[in-house]
Symmetry: C2
Subunit: 116 residues, 2 copies
Amino acid sequence: MKNLHHPSREDISIFGILYALSEPVRFSIIEQLANGTELTCGAFKLPSTKGKSTMTHHFKVLRDSGLIFTRVDGREHYTSLRRAEIEERFPQLLDILLQAWQTSTEDVREQTLRVV
Amino acid sequence: MKNLHHPSREDISIFGILYALSEPVRFSIIEQLANGTELTCGAFKLPSTKGKSTMTHHFKVLRDSGLIFTRVDGREHYTSLRRAEIEERFPQLLDILLQAWQTSTEDVREQTLRVV
């Protein structure tokens, strides 16, 4: 099993979160986890044009920022949002960001969410 | 007078805003404008270690994201926050982000706000 790094709650930085979410595909990953679900990599609706290494990088940026937790079980990776910890550290931030995403233009959302 | 580009309110993207604010010096610039003031470049409290071209770049990223407006008068640049427009496009976003910045560790804030 790979030893994946997850920052402690105290080490979660607002700048790391903002950088992680400044990329539409990464924001889309967080949106899909927002209801508290845990997803395998294959269960995400993601752009078909992105290669595996790009997606691995996106998940790493999200994990390093403290936004997601990756649980490894055998060869499968299960990803969830560290919602309670983020909420405790930065109250309301995730809700307001998700709301801002919803109010973004349909054009942007369609570009981002074009699925396989 | 240089013709500086400012995106229209409709073209302000949540991703551009998040990217612009993912850099501590840029976030600090926004914090200093949050009370509605208009500042000349020399009036900002900014790290003394940053060169002029770096700062010019930071202001350009903020302007391109739609966060700031730059008014040119002779050789002076006056910068203000496009607060009403951002609020209209993404309600509460700026307030929550500024609050998250406030709750960041003193260490990070001290590193960022070390002044000349």
